[in-house]
């Protein structure tokens, strides 16, 4: 991955401070284990919010329950740490109430594709204008290492002491089939690429889904380690056309050597556009969308 250049701590600190991205980090320190891939995700999200110049008060980070779902506490924005599996419908409510907000949903593989799996297709098909960051470590970390819906067959955990009998889901392929309008994959071990992908995802108008591979350094010593992931990941072929959903799905089917990058992107009306269309059809008046106005009060009577 290119030449390795020496990094001097003082220079790096100066660069980070001057970038302004620290304004997007909260004073609460992350609760994750040392070495967890999620540290690079919180850094990348702060950097992306900073690059896009989104005012802190206009960003809302919504999560469910899990290690990754502690995320809202570590960024300096509005946030909601909701129930296990319910980040997407809550985030849909937030965005529906105020279009001017930048809404980011975060959560783990269990939160999004086990207990909350019923909500993903609907957020995707409605094209809710939000970004969904799925932290996939293939394990339930917060409850100390049980099997998740993306754990490999044969994986041994306290709830599958002999071996995991179930084949893993392929969330990337599912989300492409559900009709998400922006789908990408990144790896926590490649923070710069991760940052670029998050920025793109947030800049996309519509439902953007970024699948982030990340190791659980505490409970998974055998499968999804930095060492294994580092060897497996590759870049998407340079000639991949991100407007071709079928091609994207073919690439997503290869989950043994996951490819990083932008799989698919299309522009189409968002849920907000559709709901505004209904107002016009009904002969109603659209309320002004001013960020400072919390709700749609202008529409009253």
């Amino acid at each position: 991955m290119g030449d390795i250049k020496p990094v001097y701590l003082e220079e790096k600190l100066k660069e980070v401070e001057e970038s302004g991205r620290l304004d997007y980090r909260s004073k609460t320190l992350p609760t994750w284990c040392p070495g967890c891939g999620y540290f690079s995700i919180v850094e990348a999200v702060a950097a992306s919010l900073c690059e896009l110049g989104i005012p802190n008060e206009n960003a809302v980070v919504v999560s469910g329950i899990g290690c990754s779902s502690r995320f809202p506490f570590f960024v300096n924005t509005y946030g909601m740490h909701t129930l296990h599996g319910r980040a997407l419908p809550v985030a849909t409510g937030v965005k529906t109430a105020n279009d001017a907000l930048t809404v980011v949903a975060v959560g783990g593989d269990g939160d999004g594709f086990a207990i909350g799996g019923g909500h993903v297709p609907h957020a995707a098909r409605r094209n809710v204008d939000m970004t969904y960051l799925l932290f996939d470590n293939g394990i339930y970390g917060l409850t100390k290492g049980q099997t998740s819906p993306t754990s490999a067959i044969g994986f041994r955990t306290p709830t599958s002491p002999y071996e995991n009998p179930d084949r893993p889901l392929n969330p990337l392929l599912m989300v492409l089939a559900y009709g998400a309008s922006w789908v990408g994959q990144a790896y926590a071990g490649r923070p710069d690429h991760l940052n670029r992908m998050i920025t793109q995802a947030m800049a996309h108008r519509g439902f953007s889904y970024l699948h982030i591979l990340s190791p659980c350094v505490t409970f998974d010593k055998t499968h999804r380690t930095y060492q294994n992931l580092g060897m497996q990941v590759r870049d998407l072929p340079a000639d991949h056309d991100p407007s071709d959903r079928a091609a994207a799905m073919r690439l997503a089917m290869d989950d043994a050597t996951p490819a990083l990058g932008l799989y698919f992107r299309e522009e189409r009306p968002t849920l907000g556009d559709a709901l505004d269309g209904l107002v016009e059809k009904a002969g109603g008046e659209l309320p002004g969308k001013v960020a400072a106005k919390p709700a749609r009060k202008a529409a009253r009577r």
Binding site: T28, P55, N56, E57, N58, V60, V62, I65, P72, F73, N76, T77, Y78, G79, M80, H81, T82, L83, R86, P89, V90, A91, T92, G93, V94, K95, T96, A97, N98, A100, L101, G118, H119, P121, H122, L271, L275, L278, V279, K281, A282, G283, G284, E285, L286, P287, A291, A292, K293, P294, A295, R296, K297, A298, A299, R300, R301
Partner: protein, 596 residues
Amino acid sequence: MATDIQISIVGSAGDGTIAAGEILRNALAGMGYKVISFDVYPPEIRGFGKCIARMRITTEQAYSLKHKSDVMVSLDDSHAIPHANEVRDCGAVIYEQGSIVRLPEGGHMSAHVGPGQLPYPLPIRELSEKSTGANRSRNIVVLGFIAGLFNLPAEGFRKAIGKKFRNKAAAAEASEAAFKAGLDYAAKTFKLDDVSFGPPVSSVVAGATVEMINGNAAIARGALDAGIDTFFGYPITPATSIMERLANEMPKRGGRLLQTEDEISAISAVVGAGFTGARAATSTSGPGLSLMAEMLGMGVIGEVPGVVFVSQRGGPSTGMPTKTEQSDLHMAVYGGHGDAPRIVIAPTNVDGCYRCAGKAFEMAEAYQTPVIVLIDLYLSNRYETVVFPARPPFEADLNRKPGKQAAGAQYKRYALTEDHVSPRAVPGDKGGMHVVTGLEHNELGRPNDSAELHTAMSRKRHEKLKRALKHPDFTQFKRFGDEGPVDVGVISWGSNFGECLEAMLKVRAEGIRCAAMKVVMLSPFPTEAVAAFMADCQEVLVPELNYQGQFANLLQAHVARPVTRLNRVSGEPMKVEEIIEEIRRLAGSKAAQKAA
């Protein structure tokens, strides 16, 4: 002369029974009568299930339907015959005089009209066929006959028919002809002496409007008048028409409505929108409320405003979707894990549905909590004439805003205050950034599970709700009937209270000292007022439509005192006569004790 007439139309699905009822009650309401109406129909859309359209037309306010009708119309004898004994003596039974098929012994209504009842055999089918060329308009023929029989202004009927078929020119034309055929036929028949309509009495103040509306429509109207911004819902009987009406009306006012993938998603989105500062609501029935329990708890601990309209149906699990019951009180008041207090209000009539729906948004905002408005199928589908004030009686904004933050000070979303309500910033407000979490938290909203904080926050969440007991311009409870000490006090809630009120008024006429109290606010419970009422009562009767006596349980958790329970789970409203009998029994036993 005071008018008090009950008409029921009984038929088979497909006969136009419910449509005839709708036209009739709209026509009568349009003439200025007070109407209360509740239909019965089968859970299947097609088929030959029994349909009954029932309405009571009065000049004084009525609170429930009567056990016996004054007039019954049969559009299908096989369904109507079992109801023949529900027509009072000197009342009329209107039915098809001839039959084109051979009927089994006793299959014709003529064999079932009681000796005291007046038979009106009509050539309904023939009149329909002669006037329209088809037998489809039998229901309208009957309406014409009723108009003629009672000398009611035909213009009122024509208007109601026109409204019903406003987009169907052919049906409107046929109905006009069928109506005239029925009307003309009535001119040739003898009149009913004992049942007659007096002139309507209008008591409407200037600016107000009278509308014939059912509970679900009243809920929707209350939500609209309170300025609902967003609605998220999933179809379920008997609550669906709340959502359908809002789907029509909200976009006209710039509002947003979304049909979600399930009830969990619906309540989640309500919590998300409430957090964002919108007035948000959902509607559901018991099964949906069960699914929402966990997210309601999130609303409670996160102190997020939101409104849930719940229309109860019968039984656990799928139960009886098209029957009424009041068996979700425990779920509404206590449902979910942890100490999760919420506001639960239960209107007792259609006008109450409107007021409770609007006030629910005020309370959710003022006390930062989920509010459940609990009705049931009987109230959802019950039509009443309601007087709407010229200006909606709801406040547009009761949010407590944080104001200017002191420089450098961290915003405390859950600040412990004297009245336990904390200033609330919403996304978009500068300097108010915070995280709402389902974890126990400190004043800043950061996770914290210390004994002191959990105690303080639990107290905050419970104590702040008590202010709802004094929420302005809202009837939390009300006493009717005799003042001071009484022989029997009836205390009830929800749709069932109308029957209780009728029963109380009837037994007072018999000389029993009796009072009735309705409790609208079920949580927090108005203990003081209810205890004071019960102290006045020698005997307390608690009638309700569930098996366990859920309201009686709630009552006794707050006021330690024996009560007599009267529980019915027939899936139908309670019979006023049953309540009267129980009051008499209690009054009698009290009298016997006194005599001894």
